[in-house]
Amino acid sequence: MHVRYGAVAVLAILLSLGCASAGGPKSLDADPWEPMNRKVFAFNESLDEWVIGPVSQGWNVVLPDGVQTSIKNFFDNIFMPAVFVNHVVQGQFKEAFAEDLPRFLMNTTVGWVGLFDAASTVDIDKNYTDFGVTLGRWGIPTGPYLVLPLLGSSSPRNVFGKVADAWSTPYSLWIAPWISVTIRAVELVNLRSLFSEEIEQSREESIDYYSFVRSAWTQNRRYRVLEAQGKEASPKFDDAQVDLYYIDAIIDADADETVEEYESDSEPTPVDEKQ
């Protein structure tokens, strides 16, 4: 119990910090905790390099893909009640009652406690949402970007949401801590193994991996909230609130001329068509 009160206290502090800095410039890229975040990010990266990555490689050798997929299905299914409850609270009744509920019932029974995704074979859409999104849907701001040790990208609102969601999943808070930690570890290693190629590729391709991860996470969370609000979810601005697709105004007329001229020159691309 003490641990839980401690967690609530930490959350309260995080939220108040979030509110304090939310008064600043309205840029979504505001990353006031960047120095700390980058340190934690570097810690997570080395943890991944030395522990989680190697363990998940071993996992991948031992377990066939089908088994890994089943483990993922199991965890997805066990989270379904939380998705259902959140959709109800968001007012997304169609998703809740026509998709989440039948999907959970079907996969729990026909799908052998969720190991097999039977619902997909009859085209019941698979949704994801969580309490962080629910809070966002009702207008609670997300707060600054926050990198947590081991858990990665988050924000004050999201930390709060995670704790709330944990109450509606049948493990984690109701059972002995060491069992719940073990279960989480299995889930994490399994996901890391399933998506290892994507993770390694993103790391290799990005020019600045930290800001790539921050941007991707922030955009994805914003998209989920917009979706829960039933709004058209195509992105319009970048993290610094600059228009994504129309930048004529900020590339001045002078530069525009150069652009046109340059475009006609470079049509038969001068460099690197050799591959």
Binding site: D125, N220, A255, V259
Partner: protein, 218 residues
């Protein structure tokens, strides 16, 4: 005097009229610029994306191709259907101005490589997955968003939206938005980050390192 005043009045009236006509024309062209793409444009862009998806799926399901050939084929589709010049400008945004002409040419080339391979090597792995075009909508100033959805595999149900723009009578993608994550936005953030602490030359250096590094692994 009366006559003179009348003439001034007339001149004013003419000027006013001309001004009105001009402003009407101007607002007309402005409203054309801010108009959403019409149904025909939406249909055209949707058709282009559907065709491209067919090409990608054909490459994925062609059992005769080696992994390398498959990758090259998908890359070729990407080369043909992304408007890299426009994307390069979009991802650099304000920083475009700080690049010299040579740097711009080099940037477009490096960015093109980076993006085509990103796209190719990701799709290459999705052989047990399908893609379906699920919708399209007009955006402001004639752009069209075509929505696709991955079917099956680890990414079942994931949405990939292509932002399409018509230039020189050809529809090409200027962004791919995966589960709400815009490629243009994610790259713009990274380039801004690097350029805030370094010169265009340094950024180009970093990009070419990335590109040559990844080529070794092929």
């Amino acid at each position: 005097m009366n006559f003179f005043q009348n003439r001034i009045g007339l001149r004013h009236a003419v000027a006013l009229g001309a001004g009105l006509v001009a402003s009407l024309l101007l607002t007309d062209s402005l409203s054309a610029a801010t108009q959403r793409a019409d149904a025909d444009q939406v249909a055209a862009a949707r058709q282009v994306v559907a065709g491209v998806m067919d090409q990608v799926l054909a490459a994925l399901s062609d059992g005769k191709l080696s992994e390398d050939q498959r990758l090259h084929q998908i890359e070729a589709v990407a080369y043909a259907n992304f408007d890299f010049e426009t994307m390069a400008k979009l991802v650099l945004a304000r920083n475009w101005k700080t690049f010299s002409k040579e740097e711009r040419v080099r940037f477009v080339a490096e960015f093109k490589n980076l993006l085509a391979r990103t796209y190719g090597s990701r799709l290459q792995r999705y052989s047990d997955e399908g893609v379906e075009v699920v919708g399209a909508r007009g955006e402001l100033r004639g752009d069209v968003t075509v929505q696709t959805r991955i079917v099956g595999g680890n990414f079942d149900g994931a949405t990939v939206d292509y932002r399409m723009r018509e230039r020189k009578a050809v529809w090409k993608a200027i962004d791919a938005v995966v589960e709400g994550v815009s490629l243009v936005s994610a790259y713009r953030t990274q380039f801004r980050e690097v350029l805030s602490g370094g010169s265009p030359a340094e950024l180009l250096e970093r990009m070419s390192e990335k590109n040559s590094f990844s080529n070794v692994g092929r």
